[in-house]
């Protein structure tokens, strides 16, 4: 039995999904004619990145990261999404998928399945990256 995703985990994985799979999945969810109300239109802006440095354990602002967000209402439930970058269509689709799960509509299971595919893909990417990096691990010898 697969573990249920928390809302935060689902949002995080939808934020990493490809735009095409998000849009296709959102279209499938809305194919039954359900009406979506857009509460916050897809908006591109910045997330101010504050970093807590380790020496004095104080925060400072490292800069801004480009991001976009959207919020919708579907079947009386609100869906929210935020992603890095400026893809408005993708973030709107992600918000629809979040609302689909909140409303426990028929497409909810498929949304979580999509999230699990994204998680697997990220794990695979990490493994491939490590396969490239691991040969560069070094132990220099000291000359005494």
């Amino acid at each position: 039995m697969t573990e249920a995703l928390s809302r935060e985990r689902r949002c995080a994985l939808l934020a990493r999904a490809d735009r095409d799979e998000l849009i296709a999945s959102a279209d499938a969810c809305l194919a039954d004619g359900a009406q979506v109300r857009i509460l916050v239109a897809p908006e591109v802006g910045c997330i101010t990145a504050q970093v807590r440095e380790p020496v004095l354990a104080q925060r400072f602002v490292a800069g801004d990261v480009l991001a976009c967000r959207a919020e919708v209402e579907l079947a009386g439930h609100r869906g929210w999404a935020m992603r890095l970058g400026d893809d408005r269509a993708a973030v709107l689709a992600a918000a629809v998928l979040d609302a689909e799960v909140q409303a426990e509509r028929p497409g909810a299971e498929e949304v979580d399945a999509l999230c699990r595919r994204v998680a697997l893909r990220l794990e695979r990417r990490d493994a491939e990256e490590w396969a490239e990096l691991a040969p560069t691990v070094v132990e220099f010898e000291e000359l005494t």
């Binding site: 809302r7 935060e8 949002c11 995080a12 934020a15 990493r16 908006e43 591109v44 802006g45 910045c46 997330i47 101010t48 990145a49 504050q50 970093v51 807590r52 440095e53 380790p54 020496v55 004095l56 354990a57 104080q58 925060r59 400072f60 602002v61 490292a62 800069g63 801004d64 990261v65 480009l66 991001a67 976009c68 967000r69 919020e71 609100r78 929210w80 935020m82 992603r83 890095l84 970058g85 400026d86 990490d126 493994a127 990256e129 490590w130 396969a131 990096l133 691991a134 040969p135 560069t136 691990v137 070094v138 132990e139 220099f140 000291e142």
Partner: protein, 461 residues
Amino acid sequence: MGYSGARGGLEAILAAEDLVRTKRDHAPSPWASAGQITGRFRLAVDRVMGEAGLYDESTAAAAFRQAEGDTLEASHLMRAQRSTLPRLAVSEPVDPSDMVVMRRIVPAFRQPDGPQLLGRTTDYTGRMLEQPDGQPPAPERGEGKQAPERTEDERRPRRFLDLLRKLDLVADQRSGDDPEPYDITRRPARPPAERSAVLAAMARAETGALVGLWYRSILGPDGHVHEVTLGELRHGRLPLSVRHPHTGNAVSVGEFRATEAEAIEDLDGADEDRARFDVGYGFCFGHNERKAIAMANLDIANRRFGRSGPLEQLLLLTVDGLDSGGFLEHLKLPHYVTFRSMVERKRAMRAAAGSGEEPGAAARPAELAESAEPGESAESAESAELAESAVSAGPAESAVPVEPAELAESAVSAGPAESAVPVEPAELAESAVSAGPAESAVPVEPAEPAVSAEPAGKDPR
């Protein structure tokens, strides 16, 4: 009399812009897509993101292409773009220890916790120029060759600072307070400033300026950096989280790459703990090791000597590329009035000397006209007016017609005008303190950054 500047030249300006656009966009070579630029010029893209203070690879690639490879100009474009965007959120505090490392070296210690991971580097490669005719053939990869599963210690190794703390070799500077970080994009930071303002200024500093200041601190007259031992250097991916508006919990919205450095400094001051080291910290967007290392050394130098010398002021006021580059570049704009008023002052002094007055006595504008040579009275009278106007004028002379409303705002953000009046050193210092940053603290309209003729840098005169 109010502002007086140059005008006209619009057709020539448009023709010059068109020449840039045509030569750049229709060069006899294939179009460089954003993907090509991020894939092949990643370090330039990372530098642009870091110096712009805005992380987005595609945007940086577009800026780099538009700027024809000029990283500072690309950063300028990025900042102008950023000034049009709303702030959607402030992130949860990023813990750099969460970084999944793609490169991690500990030059100070051979066997730290976790691996010495060289990653993607040319640090040990001879600088032999390669000039292939085309794309080299792809290297052969071993089929099915897989690395053993990565351990947590290999993904997020414990930082060297933790080992130093464990060995009781580092002075613990943590006070437990958590001041709100200073946002230099909203308010200009001036000395004395909080440390968070200095760190933020260095994080988006122009790389060359920061390295130059770092080197000056080692070899120059200041001597702010004594030890140049690098504790640790990392490049990797960090999660960015915000507060979910419905649940109130932190939610990750993606990852960004960053470089961080820890620099070890020997403590040798009379009131310092000489039995221990201290550590400086550097952090910037993307992969930019020179900048992070310089920042780490300068962080500890600033904590030790920032207030007793000029270092804090230098870090806050001179390392921003848009400030310094903008001021330098504006010198190319017409300065006819400025120079004419300078000439008039010379003539006035000469005339005063000839009439027996004290040569150094300052002449009032009205006197300039009277003291002018025969046959030049009309021009001198005009110059006198110009000299007077320069005193009250706001922004620098601009070749581009500027609307009055923009003038007022420019005067606020650009700082003192180009003055035809000699300025005393004390006034210089005051001007520097009161001048606004190149990037206005006031949210600007989207159209404003397009007025590229307005100098980004402040005029410290």
